[in-house]
């Protein structure tokens, strides 16, 4: 069943959510028409109707089976460079960066080199991207290529929604597996094969308000846990609406921003083989105690918010220290030029086991439903090439994303052109990707929920970790 026509598909994900919302209005309207003494029967009907509407949304509009995906194994078979298409081909590229100047410039170059390939940009806001893509795949109408958050590759890859790129990479001159920094490459791998090409990345580091630090007489950013807590405490003045740092309880962020502390304490999320939960170690509990303890220095108003909405608190000087990915630097420079010079970045403080931070990135993938895989490969191969990546990261005057290629990441050019990124590039050597495992999103959900509860004082940090671990083990064992 295919209910999604190409033109309409862009709104499907939103439609689905809306149907729930409008369920009430529909039943209300239906009953209203027949208002009066007989309204009783009508309203009953309306009630069932609105539930049906929801059920219909679940099934009719939003889900349809993808039975027409071509065979996975045949992808990119052959030898030598992938040939240029002889006829004009149009491929689609789903991303949230299609409108950016850097991407437009890259496309111009690509078009000049590959006149027969036209790329149609599908622009979706980042937070909608996953849902949209899932719906498109389910509707049997996926884009040919997509710009994907690194956390989703294993999930999509394991569900056979992405093309295994190993054969293509073997034939390519522009892209070699060893070109990429190991942790970034790891985010694209599943079962030993690469399902995407790492395009850009970021690490999590510390943003701090130099003006607040100065006012409090603090000269340097904290480098240890003890210092971090001391500074947070010193900056927290609730009567002046000023806080040391900021925490978020909703999923997945309550877990996501806990990982660096876990790694710094010497803990691990899962065992190597992904079969055993390890975050409930002593190190894990220690990290949880410390992390949850920071709630005290965090504005309660933002506790049910997220790290994107929370940027306002940092921009307004409500919060002195903000743990976030490099993306925040870009957002601050673009949206809040007024605080330029009042903030700086630093690597995260070190724990008992040294440094540790989370890395994430954006990867380029070909969707398994694509029928124009060779052209799709040409496009993502071009983007992931050294030259394009340099243009996209180092040479972009406002960008704050890191290159994923070892050569670029370690080049002095990066430090030269992007002094603000130095902390992030430096943090890379301690960088770990979150787990690449199809069970992980569910486990992360349990973990987030428990840590969130703990922030609200419903459960002690160590108990929260134990509870999450036992639930996680159940998920893995399923």
């Amino acid at each position: 069943m295919r209910l999604t026509s190409p033109g309409r598909s862009s709104t499907i994900a939103i439609d689905c959510a809306n149907v729930y919302a409008t369920g009430l209005d529909r039943s209300g309207a239906a009953a209203e028409q027949l208002l009066g003494r007989r309204s009783v029967r009508v309203s009953k009907l309306a009630g069932s109707l609105s539930v049906i509407v929801v059920a219909a949304a679940l099934l009719g509009g939003c889900g349809s089976s993808s039975d027409d995906a071509p065979e996975q194994s045949a992808a990119g078979a052959g030898s030598g460079p992938v040939p240029e298409p002889k006829e004009p081909v149009t491929i689609s590229f789903a991303s949230w960066v299609g409108q950016e100047r850097g991407m437009k410039a890259l496309y111009k170059t690509f078009k000049a080199e590959h006149p027969n390939i036209t790329v149609e940009f599908q622009n979706i806001p980042a937070e909608e991207a996953n849902r949209k893509l899932t719906t498109q795949i389910a509707g049997g109408n996926p884009p040919d290529t997509a710009y994907l958050d690194s956390g989703t590759i294993a999930d999509f890859g394991s569900r056979e929604a992405l093309v295994n790129l190993d054969a293509y990479i073997d034939r390519s001159d522009l892209v070699k597996k060893d070109d990429f920094v190991a942790p970034f490459r790891a985010t694209t791998e599943f079962d030993g094969s690469m399902f995407a090409l790492p395009f850009d990345g970021e690490s999590t580091a510390l943003f701090y308000r130099t003006d607040l630090f100065e006012a409090a007489g603090i000269t340097d950013p904290p480098t240890t846990w003890e210092e971090f807590e001391a500074v947070a405490q010193q900056l927290t003045k609730p009567e002046e609406k000023q806080y040391g740092t900021i925490l978020f309880s909703p999923s997945p962020e309550s877990a996501y921003y806990w990982y660096p502390w876990l790694w710094q304490a010497g803990g691990e999320l899962l065992s190597e083989d992904g079969k055993t939960v390890e975050f409930n170690s002593d190190a894990g509990k220690q990290a949880a105690e410390f992390y949850i303890g920071l709630t005290e220095y965090s504005p309660q108003d933002f506790l049910n918010s997220n790290s994107y909405d929370g940027r306002i608190a940092f921009a307004r000087g409500t919060v002195g220290m903000y743990v976030a990915g490099a993306w925040l630097a870009g957002v601050l420079r673009e949206e809040f030029p007024k605080i330029d010079g009042k903030w700086a970045t630093a690597p995260l403080p070190e724990g008992a086991a040294g440094c540790g931070t989370t890395i994430a990135g954006d990867n380029l993938a070909i969707l398994a439903g694509s029928e124009k895989r060779d052209a799709a490969w040409k496009w993502i191969e071009f983007l992931a090439s050294e030259e394009s990546q340099r243009a996209w990261t180092i040479d972009d005057p406002f960008g704050t994303l890191l290159p994923t290629r070892t050569k670029l990441l370690e080049s002095p050019e990066l430090a030269e052109k992007k002094p603000i990124m130095e902390g992030f590039a430096e943090a890379m050597k301690c960088g770990k990707p979150p787990v690449s495992n199809k069970d992980w999103p569910k486990i992360e959900e349990r973990l987030s929920e428990q840590l969130g509860k703990s922030m609200y004082g419903e459960v002690a940090p160590a108990d929260a970790i134990d509870q999450a671990a036992s639930e996680a083990q159940g998920i893995i064992g399923r």
């Binding site: 729930y20 009630g47 929801v54 509009g61």
Partner: protein, 310 residues
């Protein structure tokens, strides 16, 4: 074309054959019904059946296969703590928002039923929130509730009613009441309009007669207005309960079910199961449970109403 024999004496229907014959005779009517009927069948009946089928299966919507899991979805639901939480939240929300909205709506309707100057304008004003796009309302209220810069806190602090800013949507105890308050604000207009219609349907003679008998304003309200409004009240109650059992938009926009699931309602949980965890089978199970609950609830109310009516 067939010649339709003129019926001589009306005969009792004789099962299928009769129905078919009747259908052939009135085929134009069915033709006119077809567009609606087909749409209804495909998008509602089929979808409903499919959802029921899914409650016994597991489906991630990306993978085409839907393994049969028997009653696992139902079992999982019974043991699911978050599901229980969502039921409690939904009942809380409904129990608070529906009576409150109706009561205030009745009050305003009674006032606006008086011969006031500018009555029409006032009625329009009270009805405005109903026709304002809900998402917009939710976003604006989210700002009103903001702890540091929200208008509520600003005025409450200024008037000295509170001394510490309230965290409203980020506070475990306050989040749901905040949502309820906002919902009541948007739903009062609807109750008001329906009550106004009900009030105008009450024959003036009843009031005249009671005045002659010496009934005061309170007695008239208590013994004439309220009993005469019973059908209206009942209608609002049923619609209100059905509607608020499915509360979603304000939760989605304002709290995302937080803090720590304090505002996760059944509908929001269905949404999460379906579009966050991609567990379509489980989401369908939840949706069917919600449907069943509403069905039982409405049947119960209907009975109660009929008994009172008799």
């Amino acid at each position: 074309m067939t010649v339709v024999p003129a019926p001589t004496v009306p005969r009792p229907p004789r099962g299928l054959r009769h129905t078919l014959r009747q259908a052939r005779r009135e085929w134009t009517a069915y033709l006119f019904l077809a567009p609606g009927l087909i749409l209804f069948s495909v998008f509602t009946v089929f979808a409903l059946g499919f959802a029921f089928y899914l409650t016994f299966h597991e489906w991630s919507i990306i993978e085409p296969d839907k393994p049969f899991v028997g009653l696992d979805n139902y079992k999982g639901m019974v043991e699911d703590e978050r599901f229980r939480r969502s039921v409690i939240n939904t009942v809380y929300f409904t129990g608070a928002s529906v009576p409150l909205g109706m009561l205030i709506g009745l009050g305003i309707a009674l006032l606006l039923n008086q011969p006031l100057r500018g009555r029409a304008i006032l009625r329009t004003l009270y009805f405005l929130p109903v026709v304002t796009p809900f998402v917009v309302v939710a976003i604006i209220w989210k700002w009103l509730y903001n702890g540091d810069f929200g208008l509520f806190n600003f005025y409450l602090l200024k008037t000295g009613l509170i001394h510490e800013p309230l965290a409203w949507l980020a506070d475990k105890q306050l989040a749901m009441p905040s949502i309820v308050l906002m919902t009541v604000w948007t739903s009062v207009g609807f109750s008001m309009v329906v009550y106004l219609a009900g009030l105008q349907a009450i024959p003036e003679e009843l009031y005249e007669a009671s005045r002659v008998d010496g009934a005061g304003a309170w007695a008239r309200l208590r013994h004439i207005t309220l009993p005469m409004l019973a059908p209206t009240t009942f209608f609002l109650l049923v619609i209100g309960i059905i509607g608020s059992f499915q509360v979603f938009t304000q939760i989605f926009v304002m709290t995302s079910g937080g803090p720590v699931d304090r505002t996760t309602t059944m509908m929001f949980y269905v949404y999460e199961a379906a579009f966050k965890f991609y567990e379509m089978g489980y989401a369908s199970t939840l949706a069917f449970t919600l449907f069943l609950m509403l069905l039982v609830f409405t049947a119960l109310q209907l009975r109660l109403y009929r008994r009172n009516d008799a």
